[in-house]
Amino acid sequence: MNLQNLFSEIEKVDGEIFDRLAHVSRRGLFSSLTKKTIAAAAPAIMASALTKSYGQSSSLPQGVKDVLNFALALEYLEFNFYNYGRNLSMIPVNYRPAFELIRQHEEVHVRLLKTVLGADAIPMPKFDFSAKGTFTDTFTNFATFSAIAQTFEDTGVRAYKGQAGNLQAAPAILQVALQIHATEAAHAANVRYMRGQKGWITGGTAALQGLPSVVDASYKGEENTVQAGVDLAAALAGDSRITPAMVMQAFDEPLDKPTILGIVAPFFA
């Protein structure tokens, strides 16, 4: 079903995905959800939105379900990351309230999306937060942990943004997705700030965000200065208050699903 589709898409960008998935018990992967009670508390807002729009989740358009499962995969990733890092002493005391709040938000995002999708929700995959050995101290070095957090949040913003057009058929769900998108942006800015970065993204490389080049793909395209056909850097070149960097910062750029899946694939065990 949807999980298969999702991993097929990952496979397009990561040919080894199925080999790596072979290490995961097929039964554990595909039937774990049915063995568990899905979170009982259906968030009222979504329940009411769904009733109004569709009656029940099974009548959601497939395109909308695909977006929601894509989002769910990313939220599973984020939640597990923060949940594993929860209470680890490597997080400076000053930043614990922020990370705990972010963890809670990712947890309720997972619950919300699972509630909307019902039986169509993909089960939780297994994760590798070394990204296949790229990061050796994810949960022991705060610099690494916070760098990955920043990358996840900035990437999450771009992922949701890239899907907005696919939710226009479901206005209530579109609004919820926009609201989640904003929550991710609030997280992103805070994590960036605690890392000594500006809250907004300047330019299209990881190095410009104080990050290693291995996460370049998460920032590629952010150097764009053309919006709605207008090169705003050129148009405002005569305004001494405006720099090209500001024009890049002033807009966050979307990323499409295959690109996002390529970025996160190494984190799936």
Partner: protein
């Protein structure tokens, strides 16, 4: 339940919340009147309920053009506010603060320029350069400036989040999405400045604890808030009707 802490709102923001509610109530009443009213010259949003000094009425167009015009109004408001912040910097503004305001002012000027230049001749023709009255804000007081900036950004984030579903054109929706996350970044940083090292950047007064959703405001809620600072009278009756 989860033990979420969030700093109380400052007296000034609590006061502005009260006035938000007041104008929202007034807007609801005005909205009812608008529905019953057919004469264009009577159908304006006048959130304070008191007669404004003679001024131009700015009628927002309908549909996508109207939503973009609505966004253009908000971007003009934000840009003008930050221009004021830097036109008369509060005493002893630190270099870090100066850099922050310079960045945010730049972003809002750029957003304003985008809507003016790129978003259809109809929009710019319908919405002129607006005039603003920020006399309620003490630009010499850092805390007041930050609190008002935070309120403007919060309104902006909620406005985009609430208006997105009304946009028909997918390209415009994406454009709005590109902007709203930057407004949210502004808001998050401003909250961090107000309440350092806390969860205030996205705490329960900003993001719902049980669903993790950021703010979303209907245009009918946002317009009266913006109107308080704008000398021209905004007439959103046709726009609101077209969204129903």
């Amino acid at each position: 339940m989860e033990n979420i802490t969030n700093r109380p709102e400052t007296p000034s923001s609590a006061a502005s919340r009260r006035s938000f509610l007041r104008v929202a109530g007034a807007a609801a009443v005005t909205g009812g009147l608008l529905t019953a009213c057919s004469k264009g010259d009577e159908a304006f949003v006048n959130p304070t309920g008191s007669a404004r000094a003679a001024g131009t009425t700015v009628a927002l167009p309908t549909g996508d053009a109207g939503v973009l015009a609505f966004a253009y109004v908000l971007e003009q408001l934000e840009a003008a506010f930050y221009e004021m912040v830097l036109a008369k910097p509060y005493p002893n503004m630190s270099s870090a603060d100066m850099a922050l305001w310079t960045d945010i002012r730049g972003h809002e000027i750029i957003h304003r320029a985008l809507f003016k230049a790129a978003v259809g001749a109809g929009t710019a023709a319908n919405v002129p350069d607006l005039t603003f009255n920020f006399s309620s804000i003490d630009f010499n007081n850092r805390a007041d400036v930050i609190a008002n900036a935070e309120a403007f950004e919060k309104t902006g984030v909620g406005a985009y989040n609430g208006a997105g579903k009304y946009i028909k054109d997918a390209g415009y929706l994406t454009l709005a999405g590109k902007i709203v996350s930057v407004e949210t970044r502004h808001h998050s940083i401003l909250r961090e400045l107000q309440y350092p090292y806390s969860d205030a950047f996205a705490g329960p007064t900003i993001v719902t604890s049980d669903t993790g959703l950021h703010l979303a405001y209907e245009p009918t809620f946002v317009l009266p808030i913006a109107q308080k600072y704008i000398l021209e009278t905004l007439d959103a009756s046709a726009l609101v009707k077209s969204l129903a």
